[in-house]
Symmetry: C2
Subunit: 384 residues, 2 copies
């Protein structure tokens, strides 16, 4: 499946992957997609996710989505002899990644001092719930809990709905992505220092960083931002408006774009009314403004408005469902849906590569692995 | 402010930063936080964000949050002579990052072939709305629009609320983080090839990747996932429950944790009732189950439940507001709130560094810059 003339940006980097379920496997998949050799160590029963989600001929599409481009090796780390094999693997690797609860990897006998004496070049990375310091560090973590504790959930939704989680496990994926970024930074540092180091990302800290814009406001005011639902906290008009055949999201992000929007909707005269003259007056009278805008927009189709607004330079789009998005021309143009060729001939659809590199593009080097598919191959290299 | 014995993971890497507002500045800040020298090129009027958000003694806290650790140089790129200065800067840099609309940087005379002839080692990175291919690529982009077009918004909220955006510009920040990851991967690739390349991330593709778990389901079923609000799509009990003094988020993520949860709430007897025997029966009867759980949990305080549940290993937490989160022990333990020492003596609070590296930790090397603060310093290096 590999094009012979293309190698990945991380070709030659060997990653030992002890992660399970979501945040960790997402991190190591990002490395594998960039061409690293990722050896996923699984217990004899396999990563739990192998039995979860919808199946394609008995193979979990959920597992496939997070474990393509990896090799699978079975090791029973409750046995000393197999722990010894892990030790051999680590002595020859560039990176190890784990997402155990903070402290567990240390207790297994792989604290950083031990790892350093085994292999000074090794980068040891951890994705965990709440960091490795403080009283929360050994508490049970889960995406929903990170969304609650970081303040993330409190910002979403409306006054009526109350706090609203994001439907996807966003804290897991953001933390996984941060960990991958930290690992590659540590690889770059190693080029000059020759030494590995510890890398850590956590679900809560990752989400905190994603709220940077609202936090900067909160630091100054000392207050919680208003829960603004689909309205913009500081701009009007902005939001979701009904059309004759659906809904359109409109985001005129400045006075200039507001003028364009009002012109496109034949509502420019509102700028002469002191209720709507500038953004701060429009914010005060947002409810009545939204009624006026809606009365106008419901007269035409969504396509009509999007075409007209986009042509004039104003951001506007349909709110599409996930299957509509995955089947859209936009997603095709960006190669964001791909097909695996396996395991065992299965065609499993998955989302594509979100970072594009021109010379070393991400690609499907290998299909998602069967449990233990590469145990023999990898153990053989150790005996050499 | 720099500890003499500590250098960043990306020390020695020079980044020319042409980005404005959000996605791009977040990307280059991540590089600057890792120790790269980031030279932010601003038009004579400065990045628009300098005039937005809440101010600390006249300096935008919003700008500070996204531009710490950078140097600021004013260049008027409408003037050929100043474009020539940019060319000099690029000939000696490792990375250039821009977040213009797709194609604009090319039209300014900096297409990749030109850049390559100027400096074959240069990595040229772009963060944009919809990628650089296809009919959408030159449409006006904005976070809200990316949330609508990627299917992201359609998944959040409840049937009653309809599609619900995330309150923070999540697509901008995810795309910025992906771009930073791609850039560091390209740096790693350059170690062996000696050559730079193009890197691209987009708002929509980044969000698509964040929905991987729900997409894998949708690929198999062909359907849109149910809008599950604060319920879990496939687990019950799970969600937000009222207590005597507030609300608690509870996430028992497997049968084992469900048993623990029911035991802690003295509701184990429900497992003998065929309506609630296993997860699939509980999912069918979720409404009545939630009533029973709520009747029990409302009898005690939030602290009581969280302590009891966490001790037994079950993930549970309060839903905190953003200021509560930013002032929490958890955030302190992780150093996720920091104080700048400047510009000009201002103390501006900002969120900290979400990736921890043990030997080359991120730190505040320099405060957020005044407009053009480093123009002289940088131009002097060119004349040498």
């Amino acid at each position: 499946m590999v094009k012979a003339n293309k190698i990945g940006a991380l070709s030659g980097i060997k990653v030992i992957d002890l992660t399970r379920v979501l945040s960790g496997p997402f991190c190591t998949m990002l490395l594998a997609d960039m061409g690293a050799e990722v050896i996923k160590i699984e217990p004899p029963k396999g990563d739990n996710v192998r039995n979860q989600g919808d199946m394609v001929e008995g193979y979990s599409s959920y597992f496939a989505q997070f474990n393509r481009n990896k090799k699978s090796v079975i090791l029973d780390l409750y046995k000393d002899s197999e722990k010894e094999i892990l030790r051999s693997l680590l002595s020859d690797a560039d990176v190890v990644v784990e997402n155990f609860k903070a402290g567990v990897f240390d207790k297994m006998g792989f604290d950083f001092e031990t790892l350093k004496s085994l292999n000074p070049k090794l980068i040891s990375a951890s994705v965990n719930g709440f960091g490795s310091k403080g009283e929360m560090s050994d508490r049970p973590a889960f995406d929903f809990i990170a969304q609650a504790l970081s303040g993330f959930m409190s910002l979403n939704g409306t006054e009526e709905s109350g706090p609203m989680r994001a439907a996807m496990p966003i804290s897991d994926l953001v933390a996984g992505l941060y960990c991958a970024f930290g690992i590659v930074c540590a690889l770059q540092s190693r080029v000059s220092t020759g030494n590995g180091q510890k890398v850590e990302a956590s679900l809560t800290s990752g989400l905190i960083s994603m709220m940077a814009y609202l936090s900067s406001e909160s630091f100054v005011t000392g207050k919680a931002p208003n829960k603004s639902g689909n309205n913009h906290p500081i701009l009007a008009p902005y939001g979701i408006f009904k059309t004759s055949d659906g809904e359109v999201a409109v985001a005129p992000a400045s006075d200039k774009f507001c003028s364009i929007f009002l012109e496109c909707t034949d509502l420019s005269y509102l700028l002469e009314n002191e209720l709507y003259r500038n953004n701060s007056s429009r914010m005060k009278n947002r409810d009545s403004l939204n009624v006026i805008v809606n009365e106008r927009m419901i007269l035409e189709t969504s396509d009509y408005w999007i075409k007209k607004l986009n042509k004039a330079g104003c951001p506007a789009a349909k709110i599409v469902s996930l299957p509509e998005a995955l089947n859209s021309q936009l997603i095709k143009d960006n190669g964001m849906v791909i097909n695996s060729n396996g395991p065992e001939g299965r065609k499993i659809k998955m989302t594509g590569f979100p970072v594009k590199l021109s010379d070393t593009p991400s690609q499907l080097y290998r299909p998602p692995p069967l449990l233990g598919e590469h145990t023999k191959e990898i153990l053989k290299t150790l005996k050499k």
